[in-house]
Every structure is written in C-alpha cells, then in structure tokens.
C-alpha cells in the first residue's frame, strides 16, 4: 500500500458564502471537497454553533476542506477565495501537508 503526499486546504468562513467558495474550488479543478458546520470566534465576533433557535441561521460558520495533489493549486484556491471574499466576509484559510491513499481520487 502506497501513500502519496498531497495538500489539504482548509477554509473556515461564513455559511452564506459557502456556495461561492465551492464554485471557486471546482473551477480550480479540485476533485471534491468536504463541508462541516462550525461556529467560532474571530475578528468579526462570535458565531453560533448551537442548535438553539437563531433568528438568522445563515450567519454561522462552515469549515471546508479540499485535498489537491499539488501545492500550487492549493495556493491558488486560497488566493482566489481570499481575494473574492475575505475583504468583506469573515474567514481564515490554511494548508497542511497530508498523505493520501488512492492518488487517482484527487
């Protein structure tokens, strides 16, 4: 069994713009992505994670994780997302080196 090195990009941002970010990810040619519900705190204040009634639901966070095979593509995703959204919407992004099984999936 061989493992191949790959890059994981993580984007934590407002749920409201998740769709737009996924579009960027697809345009950049990633083979897929994973989304999770999140909450948290940052420079734009606190975001809800509880299942308590929130009059405004769209203002919680999501954590999107994308695995790509080369770092340039990873950086390009991060850059495009930051340019498109992070002046006006809350969000952070980072990357991490990982080792994947089944390279053909990515």
């Amino acid at each position: 069994m061989t493992l191949y090195s790959a890059i994981k990009v993580v984007i934590i941002t407002e749920k409201m713009i998740a769709k737009g970010i996924c579009n960027i990810i697809e345009q950049e040619g990633a083979s897929g992505y994973t989304i999770m519900a999140a909450g948290g705190k940052g420079s734009h204040g606190v975001r809800n994670i509880s299942d308590r009634a929130a009059v405004i639901d769209d203002f919680s966070d999501v954590r999107i994780e994308v695995i790509v095979t080369d770092k340039e593509r990873a950086k390009s995703i991060m850059k495009k997302v930051a340019e498109a959204y992070f002046n006006e919407y809350a969000g952070i992004t980072y990357l991490d080196e990982v080792e994947v099984l089944r390279l053909s999936k990515f």
Partner: protein, 335 residues
C-alpha cells in the same frame, strides 16, 4: 390626556395577552441566563407554519376580493417601504460616526417587514375583535421588496461613487428574486397561491388555525430570547443605531397610519386594515432581510443592523407599536 391614559391602560392589559407576555418572558428568561432553548428546527417550522396559515387564509379570501380595493394600499405599501429607506439613509448620513453602508443597510431592514410582528398584530386584532381584510398581510412583499432593493441599490451607488469606478449597472432582478426566494416570503406566497387555487379549507380549519396562537406564543418566546441575546452585539456599534431603532418603528407606523387613513376615506380600507398596515410599516425584517442585505451590501457591518433590529426594533414594534396603533385606531375609527 385621556388618550394617553387609555393607551397606558391598554398597554398594561396587552402585556397580559399571551403574545406580549411570551415576548417579555423570553427577554426575562434570557436575562437571567436560563439554558432553556427552543430548537432551531422547531423555530423554523413555526415560522413556516404561521406564514403558511396567513397565506392560506389570505389566498382564500382574495378569491372574492375586489382588486380595486387592494390597489391603493398596495401602492401605499411601496411608497412606505421606499420612504423609510430614503428617510433612514438621510438621517444616518447626518451622523458622521456612522459608516454610510451601515446606515443604508439599517434603513433597508427597517423598511422591510417582519413576519413575527405581523402575526402578533393579527392575533391581537382578533382578540380585540377588530376586523381587517384578509388580504392585508399580502401587502408584506409590496413593502418589503422595494425597501430591500432600494437599500442595496443606494449602497452600491455609494460605493461606486467612492471607488470612483465607472458606473456598473446594478441588477435589480436578482435582488427581487433573492427576496421572493427567502424562506418567509416564499412560505407566505405559497400559502396565498394554495389558498387561491386549491381548496385548503379543511386543513386550515383542522390544523393551521387551531394551532396558530399556540405556535405564535413559542415564536414570541424565541424573539424575546434573541432580543436579549443580541444586545451584546448592539453594544459594539454606535449608540445611534439604538436610538434610531427605538424611534423609527413608531414614526414609520404613524406615517403609514396617515396613508392608511387616506385609503380608509378614499377606498374604504377598514380600520383593522389601517392598524395592521401601520404595524407592517413599523416592523423590521428579522428573518429574510438580514441575509439578503448581507449578500447585497457585504461591506456593511451586520452587527449594526441585526443588533438594532432584533434587540430593539422588533420589541418596540410588537410591545409599543401594536397597542399604540390599536388604541389610535379605536380612537380615530371608534371601533
């Protein structure tokens, strides 16, 4: 003088109606730090339920409505929505401590309409046995959509001016679509369509009507809890927002009351209709408006408009404006 005494008595009595009592109870329970929570899924269902009921009932009655009657109030709704946004934008533009986009967005939210205030007003009118035309709630989009569109257009014009960039055309249709697709408005409109073209009387009577007040009590509890919870957010922005949020609903409502009175005289708009119309104007959007504005005016700080609307605007619209306009209506129309 007598009016004021009458109003205060009425206010005190209406605080005891389940509608207001649950709203105040919600604030109270949040203030004492209770862990009580109404699950988000239940809240979302309740909002759907209330608007579906209002829509079904409205749709059924519109079937036999005289469209001429509705024309003027609908036109007035558009006028009120637009006037509120223009007035609010002007007011905030006088305050140098307020970022222009924040002011415009807040004005937009107060021009838009709140489903919860609407439902509360309907129940309180019924409790006072004041009749209104069942199509009045259908005025909602006529006020809501123009207000949101205008706010987004104004903010974008402002931005283009600032950036000195060449005029980009601002597309209005996507904003209209976005509003109509919002969960609150689409539940209301779906209800109206079903009321108009289907025969939902049986479930209206067996399900949507009997549970309306009960679910409204739960919604009021949520609104009260949220109002308190978002005070923290409000504290982080200029206190002008709080001042605006307190007075705007009353002024907007009075303005609408005036127009409604004209419609009463000219086309026989009912007393209850005028009151409900005033509450619609006094209300500010709490469900669909904020995401629409966040998307349309991303540079505005959501804390400013959400804090002022949820924490002050909505409670004022429900707790002060509804009893006020009912009292006023009873005085003016002797109902």
């Amino acid at each position: 003088m007598e009016f004021i005494v009458d109003f205060l008595t009425r206010l005190l009595m209406q605080f005891q109606t389940p509608t207001l009592a649950f709203l105040i109870g919600g604030m109270l329970i949040a203030a004492v730090g209770s862990n009580l929570k109404i699950p988000n899924a239940v809240y979302q269902f309740i909002v759907f339920f209330l608007l579906m009921k209002i829509g079904l009932k409205g749709g059924i009655e519109i079937r036999e409505a005289n469209f001429n009657e509705m024309f003027l109030p609908a036109l007035f709704s558009i006028i009120v929505g637009i006037s509120i946004v223009i007035a609010g934008t002007l007011v905030f533009s006088l305050l140098s401590s307020v970022k222009r986009e924040d002011g415009i967005a807040t004005a937009g939210l107060f021009g838009a309409v709140s489903a919860s205030s609407l439902a509360a007003a309907m129940v309180l009118l019924e409790e006072e046995s004041i009749h209104f035309e069942a199509w009045v709630p259908a005025l909602y989009p006529f006020m809501d959509i123009p207000a949101l569109i205008l706010a987004i257009v104004l903010a974008n014009l402002h931005r283009q001016r600032q950036e000195g960039s060449g005029k980009k055309e601002i597309k209005v249709w996507p904003i209209v679509k976005d509003s109509l697709q919002g969960s609150a408005l689409s539940a209301l409109l779906l209800g109206i369509v079903l009321g108009l073209f289907a025969k939902p009387e049986s479930i209206l009577h067996s399900f949507y009507e009997p549970m309306f007040r009960g679910f409204l009590s739960v919604l009021m509890l949520v609104m009260g809890m949220e109002a308190y919870a978002r005070l923290a957010e409000l504290r982080r922005v200029a206190h002008w927002f709080a001042v605006y949020a307190f007075f705007a609903p009353i002024i907007h409502g009075l303005f609408a009351f005036g127009l409604g009175y004209l419609a009463h005289v000219w086309v026989g708009f009912s007393a209850g209709g005028v009151i409900l119309f005033s509450v619609i104007a006094a209300s500010n959007s709490d469900i669909s408006g904020p995401p629409t504005l966040r998307a349309g005016i991303p540079s505005a700080n959501p804390s400013s408009y959400i804090g002022s609307s949820t924490s002050i605007g909505t409670p004022v619209a429900i707790v002060i404006c509804i009893p006020l306009f009912i009292a006023l209506g009873q005085q003016v129309f002797s109902v």
